[in-house]
């Protein structure tokens, strides 16, 4: 009996079928979910988890694969959000196009970040990305054009509207962000398994050596930054349309950038599924802690959360996914033998 079970698990674990089957099943579940489950809060959680998954995966492209850790991604996020919103308010431009324009603007500003990336080492670069995000936040909160510190409210029309990117129920947003997540993760997966990915990882490991071997460091860093910034900007527009309100405190600055980076770090910084797991963990643990502890003492949940974060980072420095992969070797060996 036990022998039969072992054989079954062995065949299920056969590399080439496991991954494709798992992915298919998971996607099926995710797509069919809204038909079965209702509940506004549940959808909010899922939407935000996928939202952070998109952010984390985009961040991962420049920081995980290329090693240029950026604490300024909130800047890209907000450029996307503000661009589409301002275009919507002033020119009634559909957010879908505004999204693309916002994403492109983010990508362009990514080039601004790229210049110090090639010149500055380690902590200097990290700090200049943080400074970029904070400067943008400061400028936005002082600028009347962008709504200042009180932010911008996305103009609302009655009812559902595809043109205005507004829906009364949550499920359209759910599918949209799910779609974005699939696209970004797919692109990330493609990068990881391609020549470009290898170049980026070479740049991460040893920039000088990579350059010496003929890798055009500047070009690939630019490419990675633009891709990363583009998708982050698109996620920004999604946020603006979903939350119907953006402000410097909500999406700009160092704190928000850190959230984006955190998602990828706790999940696994150099893998394409890492950020998804990280987003689920970040949101899941956050909500659980808030649920269990939130009511009585204010700040307790965030405090415990910070502690959990520290412990987690120290226990799984490479992120949860990498840890599982390392563990997986031992798991696999038992069943194959």
């Amino acid at each position: 009996m036990f022998h039969i079970m072992k054989k079954f698990i062995q065949s299920a674990l056969q590399r080439k079928y496991l991954e494709k089957r798992a992915v298919f099943i998971i996607m099926l579940v995710l797509v069919l979910l809204p038909l079965k489950l209702k509940g506004v809060y549940f959808y909010h959680c899922m939407i935000f988890t996928f939202y952070f998954a998109v952010l984390g995966t985009s961040w991962n492209i420049i920081s995980g694969y290329s090693g240029a850790v950026s604490l300024g991604h909130a800047a890209f996020l907000s450029i996307g959000a503000y661009t589409s919103t301002i275009l919507l308010i002033n020119f009634q431009l559909t957010p879908w196009i505004g999204m693309l324009i916002g994403g492109s603007l983010s990508a362009l500003s990514g080039l601004v970040i790229c210049y110090p990336a090639t010149k500055l080492k380690g902590p200097y670069f990290v700090m200049s990305t943080a400074a970029f995000a904070e400067i943008l936040r400061y400028l936005t909160s002082q600028s009347k054009f962008a709504g200042g510190a009180s932010g911008l409210i996305i103009p609302v029309v009655t009812g559902n509207s595809l043109y205005w990117f507004q829906f009364i129920e949550k499920w359209p947003f759910y599918y949209i962000i799910l779609f974005f997540t699939i696209i970004v993760v797919f692109i990330s997966y493609k990068i990881e398994n391609s020549k470009v990915g290898l170049y980026l990882m070479a740049i991460r490991e040893n920039r000088g050596a990579a350059q010496m071997l003929g890798v055009n460091v500047a070009k690939y860093l630019r490419m990675a930054t633009c891709l990363s910034a583009f998708f982050t900007g698109i996620a920004g527009t999604f946020y603006a349309q979903y939350m119907v309100y953006i402000s410097p405190d909500a999406i700009m600055g160092l704190g928000e950038s850190i959230k984006i980076a955190l998602v990828a770090i706790i999940g696994g910084m150099g893998t394409f599924i890492g950020p998804i797991i990280g987003a689920a963990l970040y949101f899941g643990v956050g909500e659980i802690v808030r649920f269990l502890l939130g009511a009585e003492i204010s700040g307790l949940s965030s405090f415990i959360y910070g502690i959990i974060l520290i412990v987690f980072i120290l226990l799984f420095p490479k992120g949860l996914v990498q840890f599982l992969k390392d563990m997986g070797g031992r798991f696999e060996r038992y069943f194959i033998h």
């Binding site: 850790v69 604490l71 110090p116 010149k119 500055l120 380690g122 902590p123 200097y124 990290v126 700090m127 200049s128 400074a131 904070e134 400067i135 400061y138 002082q142 850190i258 980076a261 955190l262 770090i265 910084m269 003492i297 204010s298 700040g299 307790l300 965030s302 405090f303 959360y305 910070g306 502690i307 974060l309 520290i310 980072i313 120290l314 420095p317 490479k318």
Partner: protein, 290 residues
């Protein structure tokens, strides 16, 4: 006009003294342990809360409680290094890990303070807080002048420690070349803990000195840590005496800027200093090698 300029410069210098303490702490930590300490502002915040409570409960003057603060913060810094940062050594993504551990620590501190102290703004009022000295036609705020002189004394003590004592020389050796120092037999980890402790302690003193003139609330550290980072970038990370001078420079520039351009733009000025130093002197003004 010239007098007002001079007044602004003097004011900036006085402010710069306290900035110097904070930045020297950060510079020491970054120079020796090579960690970007995002929790540095929270060290300051802790010291301010301690000073506040000790003053409100027992009436202890901040200038006395600075001993308590520096001691406590030394302990906090030492423990942070020992328990947290040491765990990140020799792991993959070490640099990023350290950044995130200090960030998480900062979150934990801020929220912990939220729990204990609530988010209220608190302040203390010293009877002699608004006393002013008048020399020639320049007015010095007495409190700030005292802070400045204490900062000078402490900075000089740190300078002596780093330059003249064996322990200090060991720390400088670790700053310059970690491996070589270990080869000579210097206990690198102990020096890390010491450096973190002293860095935090310096910030503790600054916190005690700042409490009479600043509101105390959980997020207060964030206001100062940005300036501290700009200062150590300007100075060249790792140069403690450079941080002192850069802090005075930034203090003066901030004050002059506020006087000439208007107070609302001083934040912009700080950013501008940061960007300019990144562009033109990425290694800082006072970095001798590299």
């Amino acid at each position: 006009m010239a007098i007002m300029l001079l007044q602004a410069i003097v004011c900036g210098l006085l402010n710069g003294g306290v900035y110097a303490l904070i930045s020297m702490g950060l510079a020491l930590i970054f120079g020796v342990v090579k960690v970007v300490n995002f929790a540095h502002g929270e060290f300051l915040m802790l010291a301010m809360y301690i000073t506040y409570w000790v003053f409100t409960r027992w009436g202890v003057d901040p200038h006395l409680s600075l001993f308590l603060c520096s001691g406590t913060l030394f302990f906090v810094g030492y423990v942070t290094q020992k328990l947290l940062i040491e765990r990140t050594f020799n792991k993959p993504f070490e640099g990023e890990l350290q950044i995130f551990v200090t960030v998480a620590l900062s979150l934990a501190f801020i929220n912990g303070m939220h729990m204990i102290g609530k988010a209220d703004y608190r302040g203390i009022n010293l009877s002699y807080a608004s006393m002013a000295l008048n020399i020639q036609s320049l007015t010095f705020n007495f409190l700030k002048a005292v802070s400045f002189f204490l900062a000078l004394i402490v900075s000089y003590l740190i300078y002596l420690f780093l330059m003249k004592t064996d322990r200090g020389r060991a720390m400088r050796a670790v700053t310059e070349n970690r491996e070589a120092a270990a080869l000579i037999g210097i206990d690198v980890n102990k020096n890390y803990c010491l450096a973190f402790g002293i860095g935090a302690g310096l910030t503790g003193i600054a916190g005690a000195l700042l409490t009479p003139s600043f509101y105390v609330f959980p997020g207060v550290g964030l206001l100062f840590v940005l300036k501290a980072f700009v200062i150590i970038v300007l100075a060249g990370m790792g140069s403690v005496s450079g941080a002192f001078i850069a802090a005075l420079i930034v203090g003066v520039l901030e004050s002059l800027g506020g006087f000439l351009i208007g107070a609302a733009y001083t934040q912009m000025l700080i950013f501008a200093i940061f960007i300019l130093s990144m562009l033109f002197r990425p290694n800082g003004l006072f970095r001798r090698r590299e």
